[in-house]
Amino acid sequence: AKKTNSNKDEIRIGILNTPNDVAVARNKGYFEEAFPNQKVSFITFDSGVDANKALMSGGVDFATMGDTNGVVALTAYIPVKLLWINEMCGSNESLIVKKNSGIKNIADLKGKKIATPFASTSHYSLMIALKKAGLEHKVTLLDMDTQNIVAAWKRGNIDAAYTWQPTLSQLQSDGRVLIDSSDLSKMGYSTGNITLVSKKFLKEQPESVEKFVNVLAKTHKLRKDNYPETVKAAAKQTGISTADADKQMRGTDWVSKKAEYSTRYLGNESDTGQFIVEMHRAGTFMHSQQTISYAPSLDQFKKFVYQPKGD
């Protein structure tokens, strides 16, 4: 976390403390391998909110965050590009209710207290789920960090929460999942964690960006080829048990590099990716919720996406 101007000797990466591809690459030493002459430093953020602030102030060159925070970054004209989808959210993010609350389905949530970290992918997923059930203004939403969700859950202050792992497993002993992000994804409201790269860095060191993508792609490949080893690396890096890591990773989808820049996800120069379309949808929805001040156009989203050279 040095000063604002990025220098050639250091690559600063903002990370989330979850068992994702960045964690695996770190553990495996892929970064050192790819950047032998540069110092790679990692700055942990609690959420994409802080990561965005860091990108804005030039404190990091890359940052991982939920795609909703990516929408915020675009809306706020932060000079960044969408580089990579780290993972697609699935059962690792879900809406969980207390077992004894008598809530059987989403409709039963009417008048209940639901907690979620605002501005997160979970928040977005929850809002979509509620909107679909016509409950948008019929529940009490509470903005809480994941740790406070656990505390509030234990005390019985909340009836439900939309949150992610590892928080989720702490609630699962007396909770039941109503819906998870893979369900929403099927309806066309996918969410995922993405990595943004600062435009300045991209301009100065395009080849480093390329290498960065390849590092992450390598982990995605590793997962496909040797899942247990990937889990072990992720667990070690984030300091959790392999079982926990397995549970968390199982709920996510790591896309191959080829798929990333295909029409299913980020798209390419000619065709718009499906994920981008859904991100645009999210932007429009967030604007309708007044959480962002305007809805960026699909064109803006298209320009937002990084395109790898050649390959």
Binding site: L142, M144, K154, N157, T291
Partner: protein, 256 residues
């Protein structure tokens, strides 16, 4: 005449700053996220005044914030003033409670907020208690000081005029320490006020402090700036009101 001049300078400073702000932002010398323009902040303000924020009207946000602040302050006054005066008057009570208060006083509120939430839940309770704890210590301490600084002749006179313990408390010690008590209340309000945003960070969806925090999540700078201005103005206003009250009630202050 001198007063007029200094008022002129002060106005000048603000006008200048506003002008620079206006110029710098409108010439697009800085990113609007780093520094939104005054028009933008103003538009945001009027729009929030009309449409509210997050589905709740501006006045409700303000109301809930003030409710939390005043509940905490009133609670603090009701408990800290008696305890502080008692601690000032009785050595025994002082040795019972003073060290506890001196110990908790310097702890940053955010450090124990999580524990408060664990104990009291996420509702208004923990928020108000957080603000209450912030307000309690300054009031308590200035009450103790108020009694200690009291002119001893006041008490001695009262005794040799035949006043009993209760009369002395009611007519001498209490009014005599009021100036200090009031200073304590003003400090307490300042401290509570600066804890306000921390209190509204967790499990809130209303309040001016929450609004600023929420806006910062979406990097809505104009809302952040607006919130900051509102909080600054509100802080000034509340302190000014307390000063008015002080002037009215403690008319003898500084006149002896």
């Amino acid at each position: 005449m001198k007063k007029k001049k200094s008022l002129l300078i002060t106005t000048g400073v603000w006008v200048c700053l506003l002008a620079i702000w206006f110029a710098v932002t409108n010439l697009k010398l800085v990113s609007p996220i780093l520094f939104p323009s005054p028009q933008e902040v103003w538009t945001t303000f009027t729009s929030i005044l009309v449409h509210g924020y997050n589905g709740i009207s501006f006045w409700q946000h303000l109301g809930i914030t003030l409710f939390r602040l005043f509940s905490a302050l009133i609670l603090a006054i009701l408990t800290a003033v008696p305890l502080g005066l008692a601690s000032g008057m009785s050595k025994t009570i002082h040795s019972l409670v003073d060290s506890l208060i001196q110990f908790y006083r310097p702890i940053p509120p955010l450090a124990y907020y999580t524990i408060l939430i664990l104990w009291l839940g996420i509702g208004e309770g923990s928020k108000i208690v957080l603000l209450y704890l912030a307000a309690f210590a300054p009031i308590y301490i200035s009450c103790v000081e108020g009694v200690h600084h009291l002119n001893q002749d006041y008490v001695l006179s009262a005794k040799s005029l035949g006043a009993g313990k209760w009369s002395i408390f009611k007519w001498v010690i209490f009014p005599g320490s009021l100036p200090d008590v009031f200073t304590g209340i003003r400090t307490a309000m300042g401290v509570s006020f600066s804890t306000l945003v921390a209190a509204e960070i967790v499990a809130s969806t209303s309040g001016i402090g929450w609004m600023v925090i929420d806006a910062s999540k979406y990097l809505k700078s104009s809302v952040m700036f607006m919130g900051i201005f509102i909080l600054g103005g509100l802080g000034l206003l509340l302190d000014w009101l307390l000063q008015l009250l002080e002037h009215e009630w403690i008319f003898w202050k500084g006149k002896n």
